[in-house]
Structure formats: structure tokens, C-alpha cells
């Protein structure tokens, strides 16, 4: 007892006198006795169930005996297939979707309302999105929306027991997005995200006891309220089915006929369902004092365990009996006053008889009455919602108490023969009945039993009989006293319109008093940027006004009497531009003050109520915070049910899944049969390539909105493009704040980096001061104007002119037919923007892998959110000795047979498919420049083969040497006639940079390549990359990085042995070639070349080992020792190249090193073959 301790300490320290201390202690004790919280009131209900998103709709469905089990909707099938093929052994055509109580949509979410970016929202587990909206609705339903609970001691108790399918899919398929997805896929955050949003200080956690999770969560919430852990608590559950396939995830309780026929003789199991529901709970006394709406009272509850039952998942009648007795004791109600039990009722052969047996045994301890208590199960309507099933049963019971009716339980035609209902205290309620108390308040119990063995039972009672006057309409004795105000607001105009529609319907049916409706709407909801205030004397007038708005839209507001509409946004900084409705904080404070004064004047009657009311409505729609509760101090006003926030939902789903169709499956199947390799060694003919459509490439140009003139400058567009890419937005208002759109500090840093690459310099800190595009661009332009001017002067105009001339010359040499194509494509390219730079393309300089092609491709791989490591791990790196080569060459040059071989496990084309990349491989092009512009403007980067002889940015080859080489082209500027490319200035040097290359250079390089190299070892000229749909499962093990080497070595260890044999043979050759100076001179160049090749390959090995096993691993140390030894050998040989003094001891030392390499290679192979080294 903390308070007592403090008092004792204070008294002991002499800071509080003894008498006062005693007085306080006595008062405390008294208070504790009187406030012994036991009864808990349900003050808010929110849900999202099939065909119901309010309690009223849900009740109507249950009352009318509807059932919602059906096949999975087609859209949902499309969205679910990738998960199924990823996580089960099923192939596409083997999938049979289960029937279930499915929600229509689980991909819709109002990300903007919750200040999330579309990208982050799409990466968020649908469970988290659904529960977040339902939690919000529940709080609003209780009349505590907006900021009313902000900072309060509110707890969140969520029943949730599912596999993190969504997050796992991201970690498998889009590992680079894991950092962005982690918060949205951490199950515990499903509970705590609402706490974060509303600054709740109470506990927030998940409860996982399998099927009983959500009812146990309610129990724990009640316990927490009783012992003072929190002042109110949100309790609920959520369940979506992401793997709704027959058989694979069956746990043995599934029904054979897709019906849950609880207590029926034919019943043999359950059907799964989906949905979410939440309750806001509060100690009854406090709820009454706060004039809350009370749906029902939780009198008591209990939780226990089956313990050692027949099997770990088998139910236990004795445990259920004890559970009920314990709950009744806790509730302190006579058991025979309980006239309904919402059973767990899964409909299984084993479960139903045991449940009735448990109920019977419990009642028999206290009463011998027969068939006085009805039983039913909501599972017959909506299926079994797994962890959320308990809360759904509870919600059904709450609704039944509200409407004083017992709804029918379905599919009950013939009682289960194993249950003797006649001699039991219960009967199955298979029809709608009025529910009447027998001299006591209506009471019922709700059971939920877990597959885990943890059982829970909750005892409910109808709300206190004295109906608060505000819940029903008052007949005004003094008609036309004063007008009431109804405030409707949302974060968008469409949201306000939706509210107008909802209220127009709601007001016609609600029996509540208008003032209470307005009071709840004005004080129990948040107030957002788009605000409508309607005044009316009575419901009828209000309905008329709403109907008029429905018909004529918000534009007619100025013509209407006593109706106000306004939009505003808060701006901290105004930089030159005045935007309609933009408020500075100073202006807001002034408006708030005006509002407060008006209300005081109205209360003090120093101004007429009517005038005052119009004035505060105007201030409200301009953005002022109005303390509406001051207007309604009337005792007879209280919280009633009114519509909740009008979420403006849009699709938030993993993009990968979007394009997944069976057509793609077939296309991929075809592709697999013609597996194709690409790259320098094994290029591809265009006609063989599985050319995939490029039409679906995302357009990277973000649309700007918000300015009346519709004029936006280049800097704004550039910022918008990067911003849109980071947050996943296709349209941005230039006045919107980066952070309100879902940006965070990490993304701010990425903004800085990305914009830098587009030559726009910002500091991530700037974003905090200039958070909208308009402000940020103004800041950038202001601070960089001088620099920009200087840069422009430095532009090498002469070079440009030359480039254009050369382009013209090239064009002139083209054939007539080609020229026609040029004109056509030019006309076409007119539609493309003047400048496009694909964002998020970074040079890859970690390691030089195989050849330049891959180093050009890796930035593309990263651009599409994948890890180049996956491609690197497709090869075994081997020493090879090719005897055929040796025989052909004979004595002339015996070392030609040695080389490094990259042994591919899967063809490269398949690898790209696995990485969800489409590649359109082309050979030859009549107009490469136009083709590149077209591809880039669709967001597709292109890898192009060129002859580096024509590349003015190459130091080693330009006009010196012909070289077949690749460039990554990711941007262009038509005015400046340049491409943005990733290129290095000399071969095999890891100095790839973003550079610009004149159109003419690329054109010449391409023509040069075609003439010199195409069809002479090369079969392709360029590769256009775009994002591809989620592929199938063939190569999954390649991407399991944890056992990448196991997979790579699987069945190929003989290759490693051959590799070591080749190395051993090499040592013998090396010894021969270095045995005298003449031999050495003959073999010097090839030896150095081989050393270079080996060391480069070993660096690749070292890189991937470091990525997989880390810096500390034995494997990494082993490979690094190998590199060091080879390096020494190379130094010895190269030294002779530059200083030809033959020292035999140097080469003897080299042979020793090589011998050591053999041992080390064998050690490394062992380490790699041992998993988890």
C-alpha cells in the first residue's frame, strides 16, 4: 500500500503532523471500502464483422438468423495466393480455398487518418490495420473520441493468436523492406499502436490462449480495472485468414459441410471466420457518474485450465464446471437467475457434449431446475473466429441484453444424441424469443474455451434499469428554446460528405434526444481540417438541412441558414505564399480566445444566444477549438450512440501480390521450360527470351496538387517524386506536411540522400522546419540560387554542341527505314517528360562480381528492394583445369587450361524471376536513345552493352581501346541530351559512380558494340528491368540465406573436390613455370592474370561469407587467409614483371603459400558444409 507508506514516511520525517496523517489514512481506508470496484460497465462497442460494421447491423443479422459462411471472394483469392504458394507446399493449381465467414475486404484502410504513408500501411499486417480502425471506432462509440482519452490511464487488452504470415512474407520476398515493415508486423504492436496514437498510459498487450484469447483479454481488462491498473480499458480481438486453404492448416475440428451446426446431431466440426470487435470498459460507478452510455455490465468472470485432460487440445468437462462455478461466485449472482449462455459451441463431436456436460454439472451444484437456461452459439452465424471468437460471442450477448431478445442459433434440426437436453438445465434456443427477466435483471454467461486448454467465462447483466433520460427523445415542453449545433468533421471533404449521408439516415432512426446526439458528436469526436456546423431547433429541421446538403453538396452551404463549412490547415511557417484556410498558430490561438469569450458572453447572457451560436460556428469552421461541453452543462444530457469517424479507405496491400494472376503462373511455367541464361558468357537471343510485358511498370512521376494556379516548379516536382517514392504516394498536395503523410525521421534522412542524387541539396533537419513541398522547395531554391547560377556557367557548352553534331551525323548514316522509326519514336517520346531520374539507384561498389554486367545489374536489384547477395549466392566458385584447352594448345602455352569457374545453380533468368524482377532482353535497336527514354520514363532502368571506346567518361578506353562493356542507364534529360548512368572510369575498379553521358556517346557506343561484338559472343544489347509479380516456389531454398551454402553445395560437393584437384595440379604447373627464368618469362602474363582472377573471385567469396556469417566467423577468417596467401603469390610474380631480377627463393616461397592455400581451401569447404558455423 503505497499511500500509507508515503504517509508514514512523511510523518516520520516530520513533514506531516501525526494527526493529519491519521486522518488521511482513515479517509483512504474508507474510500477503498466504498470504491471496491467489482462491476464493470461496457460503455463502447466497435466491430467489423462480415456484413456489419456497427452493433446495430450485427444484431440485425444475428436476430434474422443470417449466416455468413461462403467461398472466399475472388479479390481475396488473388491477394492470398502468393501467401499460400510461399508458405505451403501447394502449387497454384492445387489450391482449394476453404469456405469461411469471410470479410469482404481486408486490404482497405484509411492510412492518411492515422498519419501513415501508403507504403508503410501496405506493409502493415491487415490484423493491425483492422484492429486499429475498430479500436478507434470503439472509443468514439463510447463518446471519448478526439483527445478525450489522450494521456489517460487506458489499458489495451487484445486477444490475438496467429502466425505472422504477412510479415514473414515480406521478410522472405522483400527483405530490404523489413525495416519499414517491422513495426506493422510485430504482433504486440497491434495492441499498442492505439496506445501510441492516443498517448495511453495503461498496460497494452496481447493475450494468446488460442481460441479463448479475446475473452481472456476481457477478463484481464476487468481485473486490471478492479485493481486500479488503469481507469478504462479497451479489450478486443482480431482475426483474418491469410492462408484459407483446405487441409493444410486444419487442426482436426473442421466441419465437413462448411456449416457450424452447434448442438445438432449431424454436426462434425466448425468453420473458420473473420472479423474484429472491441469493447471500452470502465468501472460501473464511474460510468454512471460520467453519464456514459452503458451497454451491459460485466458482473464477474473466471479463467482456468483443463490441466491434464484426455489430450492437450481436448476439452475437460470438470474444468468447465469449475470455471462456471468460479465465475458465478465472482459475479455474486444466483446461478438460476442466468437465463442464457452463449456457448463456445464449436460444433465438434467431442466439444459440444462436453460443454453441455460441464454446464449441467455446474448448475446441478446450485439448482435442480430443468431447461430454464437457453444456449446458443454465434459460431453458427459467423463461424469460429479463433482468437477473436470469445469477444464475438460476448458482443452477441451484449446486443441481446440491449434488445432484450434471444436470437436463434442456426443449423439446429435434431439435437445431438449424445446430449440429454431434456434432463439438463439448458435448451437450445433455435428461434427468436423475447427475453424476460424472472424478477431479476437479465443475466447471461459467455464461454470461450481454448485449444490451449485455457478456458474463460464471463457473466453479464443488463444495464441498470433506470434509463437515463437522454437516451430517449424528450418531448419539449418549451418548443423552440434554442438551436442545437451539430459539428461534423473529417480529414477530407469526402469524409464530411460521408458523415452527412450517415447522419441523414441515422437521425431518422435514432430515438435519442437531439441535444444528447449533438453533445456526443461535438464532444466525443475529434475535430479535423474539414468542418461542417449545422444548427437546428429540432431533429426534423436538422434532417432537412442534411438532406439538402446530400442533394446539392457542400457548395450550397453559403446559401443555407445556420449552416457553416470551412477547411483549414495549420501552418507553422508561411513563406510568402498565402493559402486559403491556412492558419498560423498565432491566428489559431486568437480564434480560440474569441470562441471562449463568446461562450462566456452567451452563458452570462451579455450577448444573445443566437448571435453567439452563429459566431462560434463560424469560428469553429475556420479552425478554432471550441469547448462545446460548456454549451451543454445541462444534467439531462449524456452520451448516446452516433456515427463514428468516416474512414476514407483505399487499398493497402503488398504490391507483389497485386499482379499475381494465373496467367502469370502460366507465363512463368513457360519461362521455366525455356530457362535462359543471360550475362556475358551465356547471352540470349531475343526470340528465345521470355519477354514479359512492361506495361505495368509504375509511373514514377508524382502528381502535384494544392495550388490554384496548378503551376509547380521543377524543384517541387523533383522533391515530390522522391517523396512519393519513399512514402508510396502518387499524388501529393504541395502544402501537406511530410510527417502528417506518414514520413518519419528515418525517411527524412533517406529524403536527404535521394534528393542529393537528384542534385537537390537539403538537410534532413530542414524537413522539420519546412515540412511541405512548397516550403522545402522555396528553401532549396533560395539557398541554392547562386550555386545553381555558377553551375550553369560551368556547363561545357562546347561539348554539348559536339555531341549534338555527332548525333546528327549518326542519324544521317541510318537507313531510310530506321529514320522512319526515329520519327515515330520521337513523336512518341514527346509524351515523355523532359527529365526523368529513377530514384533509389545507388552504385554497387562492395565487390566486383564476375563481370561488369552484374555490377550494372546490382543497383537495379537493390532498386527493386532485393539483395544482390541472392544472385551472388547462385554460383559455386571453383578452380578449374580444362584439359581440352590444354590439348589444343599443347606445349605453346600450357597454363591456358586454368581458370576460375562460376558454376551457376539456376539460370540467371530464373534468378531474376525469383527476385520479382522482369527483364526484357533485346538485341539490336534502331533507336537506342528513344528506347531508353521510353523505358526510363516508365521507371524501368536499362543495362546497355556498349563499346567503351566511345565513352568519353572512361579514362582507360576512350579513343584508346575497344572494350565490350555495360552501363546502367537510369535517367535522362532531353534538353541537355544526357543520360544519367552508373559507370566506373576504368575496368574492374570499384569506383562506380553516378555520371552523365551524352546521348551521342551512348548511341555511338551502342552502334560500336553492335558492329564489333553482337553475335560474336554476345547475343543481346540491352536489358530493360521492371518489377514482376510474385513468382512461384521453385527456387525458394536459394533465398533462405541462413542455409544458402548448404543449398549451393547440396549434391555438388564433388565439384569442390575437383576444384581442389585443379588447384593441386596448378601448383605443379606453377612450380615448373617458375623453375627457371625462361619459363617464367613465357608464363608471366598468364600467371598474373590467373592470380588476378583468383583473387577477385575470392573477394566475392569473402564478401558473401561476411554477409552471411559476419565479421567474427571462422569462415570469414579462413577465406581471408586464402586471399592473403594468393596476394603474396601475386606480389612475388608481379615484382618480376616490374623488376626482372630472377630470385628462385621468391617462387619457392610462393609454392609454399600455394600449398597452404590447398589446406585452407579444404578447411573452408568443411566449414561451409557445416551448417550454422
Amino acid at each position: 500500500m503505497k499511500a500509507a507508506q508515503i504517509i508514514f514516511e512523511q510523518v516520520a520525517a516530520g513533514k506531516m503532523d501525526r494527526a493529519t496523517g491519521l486522518q488521511v489514512l482513515k479517509a483512504l481506508k474508507l474510500q477503498q471500502q466504498s470504491s471496491g470496484v467489482k462491476d464493470i460497465a461496457v460503455i463502447g462497442v466497435g466491430l467489423d464483422m462480415p456484413h456489419a460494421n456497427t452493433l446495430e447491423q450485427f444484431w440485425a443479422n444475428i436476430r434474422d438468423g443470417q449466416q455468413f459462411v461462403r467461398p472466399l471472394p475472388l479479390d481475396r483469392q488473388r491477394d492470398t495466393r502468393p501467401f499460400i504458394t510461399q508458405f505451403t507446399s501447394l502449387r497454384e493449381h492445387e489450391i482449394t480455398f476453404s469456405q469461411g465467414g469471410y470479410l469482404d475486404q481486408i486490404d482497405q484502410f484509411d492510412y492518411g487518418f492515422f498519419n501513415l504513408s501508403p507504403k508503410e500501411a501496405a506493409l502493415m499486417d491487415p490484423n493491425q490495420r483492422l484492429f486499429l480502425e475498430t479500436a478507434w471506432k470503439t472509443i468514439e462509440d463510447a463518446g471519448y473520441g478526439g483527445n478525450r482519452l489522450k494521456g489517460s490511464r487506458t489499458g489495451v487488452y487484445l486477444g490475438y493468436a496467429d502466425w505472422p504470415v504477412y510479415g514473414q512474407y515480406i521478410s522472405k520476398r522483400q527483405p530490404t523492406l523489413v525495416d519499414m515493415a517491422s513495426v506493422g508486423n510485430t504482433p504486440s504492436l497491434i495492441a499498442s499502436r492505439i496506445s501510441y496514437l492516443l498517448d495511453f498510459k495503461g498496460p497494452a498487450f496481447l493475450v494468446d490462449t488460442a481460441c479463448s484469447s479475446s475473452l481472456v483479454a476481457v477478463h484481464l481488462a476487468c481485473m486490471a480495472l478492479r485493481n486500479g491498473d488503469c481507469d478504462q480499458a479497451l479489450a478486443g480481438g482480431v482475426k483474418v485468414c491469410l492462408l484459407p486453404v483446405d487441409d493444410v492448416f486444419a487442426i482436426g475440428i473442421e466441419s465437413s459441410n462448411a456449416r457450424t451446426s452447434t448442438f445438432d446431431d449431424s454436426s462434425d466440426g466448425t468453420v473458420w471466420g473473420e472479423g474484429t470487435a472491441a469493447l471500452l470498459l470502465k468501472p460501473l460507478e464511474r460510468a454512471v457518474a460520467d453519464r456514459d452510455r452503458i451497454y451491459a455490465v460485466i458482473k464477474g468472470s473466471a479463467v482456468n485450465q483443463d490441466g491434464a485432460s484426455a489430450g492437450i487440445t481436448a476439452p475437460n468437462a470438470q474444468a468447465q464446471e469449475q470455471l462456471l462455478l468460479q465465475a458465478w461466485k465472482d459475479a455474486d449472482v444466483p446461478p438460476d437467475s442466468i437465463s442464457y449462455i452463449e456457448a463456445h459451441g464449436t460444433g465438434t463431436k467431442l466439444g459440444d457434449p462436453i460443454e453441455i456436460d460441464g454446464i449441467k454439472r455446474a448448475f446441478r451444484q446450485r439448482t435442480s431446475k430443468q431447461q430454464f437456461c437457453a444456449v446458443g452459439s454465434v459460431k453458427t452465424n459467423v463461424g469460429h473466429l479463433d482468437s477473436a471468437s470469445g469477444i464475438v460471442g460476448l458482443v452477441k450477448a451484449i446486443a441481446a441484453l440491449q434488445y432484450k431478445q434471444l436470437p436463434p442459433t442456426l443449423h439446429f434440426t435434431r439435437p445431438n444424441r449424445k446430449i440429454a437436453f431434456e434432463s439438463s438445465p439448458v435448451y437450445v434456443n433455435d428461434q427468436l424469443r423475447n427475453w424476460e427477466g424472472r424478477g431479476t435483471p437479465l443475466r447471461c454467461g459467455v464461454s470461450s474455451f481454448g485449444f490451449s486448454g485455457t478456458n474463460c467465462h464471463v457473466v453479464l447483466e443488463e444495464p441498470p434499469t433506470k434509463q437515463p433520460s437522454f437516451a430517449v427523445e424528450r418531448v419539449d415542453t418549451q418548443p423552440k428554446r434554442e438551436r442545437a449545433v451539430l459539428c461534423l468533421s473529417a480529414k477530407s471533404e469526402s469524409g464530411v460528405k460521408q458523415l452527412v449521408n450517415e447522419y441523414a439516415t441515422f437521425l431518422r432512426h435514432s430515438i435519442a434526444d437531439l441535444r444528447s446526439i449533438c453533445y456526443t458528436a461535438n464532444t466525443g469526436r475529434g475535430h479535423y481540417g474539414h468542418r461542417l456546423a449545422l444548427t437546428a431547433y429540432d431533429k426534423e429541421e436538422l434532417c432537412q438541412k442534411l438532406t439538402q446538403l446530400q442533394q446539392t453538396g457542400l457548395t450550397s452551404v453559403p446559401t443555407m441558414d445556420g449552416v457553416y463549412y470551412g477547411e483549414h490547415r495549420l501552418r507553422n511557417v508561411q513563406r510568402g505564399e498565402i493559402q486559403v484556410g491556412a492558419l498560423t498558430s498565432e491566428q489559431l490561438i486568437a480564434k480560440n480566445e474569441q470562441g471562449r469569450e463568446r461562450i462566456q458572453q452567451m452563458m452570462a447572457r451579455t450577448t444573445s444566444y443566437a448571435d453567439g451560436l452563429d459566431e462560434i460556428c463560424r469560428l469553429y469552421t475556420e479552425g478554432a477549438d471550441i469547448e462545446w461541453q460548456l454549451l451543454d452543462m445541462d444534467e439531462e444530457i449524456g452520451t448516446v450512440s452516433v456515427p463514428t469517424y468516416p474512414f476514407q479507405r483505399s487499398r493497402c496491400w503488398l504490391e507483389l501480390a497485386d499482379e499475381y494472376t494465373s496467367e502469370h503462373y502460366q507465363a512463368l511455367q513457360g519461362g521455366d521450360q525455356n530457362s535462359i541464361e543471360i550475362g556475358e558468357c551465356n547471352p540470349v537471343r531475343t526470340d528465345e527470351a521470355a519477354v514479359v510485358d512492361t506495361t505495368s511498370s509504375s509511373n514514377i512521376v508524382v502528381k502535384l496538387t494544392g495550388r490554384d494556379s496548378r503551376q509547380y516548379n521543377e524543384t517541387e516536382q523533383t522533391i515530390a517524386n522522391v517523396w512519393g517514392m519513399l512514402l508510396g504516394l502518387s499524388e501529393i498536395n504541395v502544402y501537406d506536411s511530410f510527417f502528417e503523410l506518414g514520413g518519419n525521421s528515418i525517411q527524412a534522412i533517406r529524403m536527404e540522400v535521394e534528393l542529393e542524387r537528384q542534385h537537390v541539396t537539403i538537410s534532413s533537419d530542414d524537413l522539420y522546419r519546412f515540412s511541405s513541398i512548397t516550403e522545402l522547395a522555396a528553401n532549396v531554391i533560395g539557398s541554392s540560387r547562386e550555386i545553381a547560377l555558377n553551375e550553369r556557367q560551368e556547363l561545357p557548352i562546347a561539348t554539348l554542341a559536339v555531341a549534338q553534331t555527332e548525333a546528327a551525323a549518326t542519324a544521317a548514316t541510318m537507313s531510310q527505314a530506321e529514320a522512319t522509326v526515329v520519327r515515330l519514336t520521337e513523336a512518341e517520346s514527346d509524351r515523355t517528360a523532359i527529365q526523368v531520374i529513377i530514384p533509389a539507384i545507388e552504385p554497387f561498389n562492395d565487390v566486383f562480381y564476375k563481370n561488369c554486367f552484374f555490377n550494372s545489374v546490382f543497383p537495379v536489384v537493390r532498386h527493386f528492394g532485393q539483395d544482390p547477395l541472392c544472385i551472388m549466392l547462385n554460383d559455386l566458385i571453383l578452380y578449374e583445369y580444362d584439359q581440352k584447352d590444354e590439348r589444343g594448345q599443347q606445349a605453346a602455352s600450357l597454363d591456358r587450361g586454368y581458370r576460375i569457374r562460376y558454376d551457376e545453380q539456376y539460370p540467371m533468368q530464373q534468378m531474376f524471376q525469383q527476385l520479382n524482377m522482369k527483364v526484357d532482353i533485346r538485341a539490336d535497336s534502331s533507336n537506342i536513345v528513344a528506347e531508353l527514354i521510353e523505358a526510363i520514363s516508365h521507371g524501368s532502368p536499362v543495362v546497355v552493352w556498349v563499346d567503351a571506346y566511345y565513352e568519353s567518361i572512361r579514362k582507360d578506353t576512350f579513343e584508346k581501346e575497344h572494350l565490350d562493356h555495360t552501363l546502367l542507364v537510369y535517367g535522362y534529360n532531353k534538353e541537355e541530351q544526357i543520360f544519367h548512368v552508373i559507370e566506373h572510369d576504368r575496368r574492374e575498379n570499384l569506383s562506380y559512380k553516378s555520371c552523365v553521358l551524352p546521348f551521342a556517346d551512348l548511341e555511338q557506343g551502342h552502334v560500336g558494340f553492335r558492329e564489333r561484338y553482337l553475335y560474336r559472343g554476345h547475343e543481346a544489347t540491352h536489358y530493360i528491368f521492371s518489377a514482376a509479380p510474385a513468382p512461384l516456389t521453385i527456387l525458394e531454398k536459394v533465398f533462405r540465406l541462413d542455409n544458402a551454402y548448404e543449398a549451393l553445395l547440396n549434391g555438388r560437393t564433388h565439384l569442390l573436390e575437383q576444384s581442389v584437384q585443379a588447384l593441386t595440379r596448378y601448383i605443379e604447373s606453377f612450380r615448373r613455370w617458375t623453375s627457371d627464368e625462361e619459363q617464367l618469362k613465357l608464363h608471366l602474363e598468364d600467371t598474373i592474370a590467373f592470380c588476378n582472377e583468383v583473387i577477385n573471385a575470392k573477394h566475392v567469396e569473402s564478401y558473401r561469407i561476411r554477409q552471411l556469417y559476419g565479421l567474427e566467423s571462422d569462415t570469414l577468417q579462413s577465406i581471408n587467409r586464402i586471399i592473403k596467401k594468393w596476394d603474396e603469390v601475386r606480389k612475388g610474380v608481379v615484382r618480376y614483371l616490374y623488376l626482372p631480377v630472377y630470385k628462385p627463393e621468391v617462387f619457392e616461397a610462393c609454392c609454399v603459400r600455394l600449398q597452404e592455400v590447398v589446406e585452407e581451401e579444404q578447411r573452408l569447404a568443411q566449414l561451409l558444409l557445416t551448417p550454422c558455423n
Binding site: 579514362k955 582507360d956 576504368r986 574492374e988 575498379n989 569506383s991 598474373i1088 588476378n1092 583473387i1095 596476394d1127 603474396e1128 601475386r1130 606480389k1131 612475388g1132 608481379v1134 615484382r1135 614483371l1137 616490374y1138 623488376l1139 621468391v1146 616461397a1149
Partner: protein, 89 residues
């Protein structure tokens, strides 16, 4: 080592580099701590530099002691020569 000697050494190192890299013009723009890789020096030409340095400055290094990283900048080459000088004496 005195400033004069140091300046002298720097001049000799730069002179040596000029004879041994492709793009000797770029050398003039290079600061003492700028990476020499921009001149096209790689792990093979590095040996060439080592040998040039050995001849020019009369020091010798064992191949197993040679580390490319010690030849990344003009300053690091100077330090390497000075350190080896001390050792040799």
C-alpha cells in the same frame, strides 16, 4: 625529420608517382591525403610503385609485409618509407 627533408621526400614521391601512373596530369590536382586509386593504381600497379619506391629510396620490403593500404595516399607512402628507413637503420 625536418620540414625541408619532408618537403624533399614529398617531391621525390610525387616524381616517382609521375613516372608510374597512367594519368600524370591528374597527380598535380591530388592532395597528400587523396586516394591514389583515382590515378588508376590497383593491386598490380601497386607492386610497380613498391619497386619504384624501393629503387628510389633504397629500402626493401618483404612481399608478405606489403599492404596495399599503405600505398593509398601520398602521405601514407611517405610514412611507409620513413618507417622502413628507421627500421633499416
Amino acid at each position: 625529420m625536418t620540414i625541408e627533408l619532408q618537403n624533399d621526400l614529398r617531391a621525390r614521391v610525387i616524381e616517382m608517382l609521375k613516372d608510374n601512373v597512367d594519368d600524370s596530369d591528374a597527380l598535380d590536382q591530388l592532395g597528400p591525403d587523396d586516394e591514389l586509386t583515382v590515378l588508376g593504381i590497383n593491386s598490380v600497379t601497386f607492386i610497380k610503385l613498391v619497386i619504384a619506391a624501393e629503387m628510389e629510396f633504397g629500402v626493401t620490403w618483404k612481399d608478405e609485409d606489403l599492404d596495399f593500404r599503405n600505398f593509398m595516399t601520398i602521405n601514407s607512402i611517405m610514412n611507409y618509407i620513413i618507417a622502413s628507413d628507421d627500421e633499416n637503420e
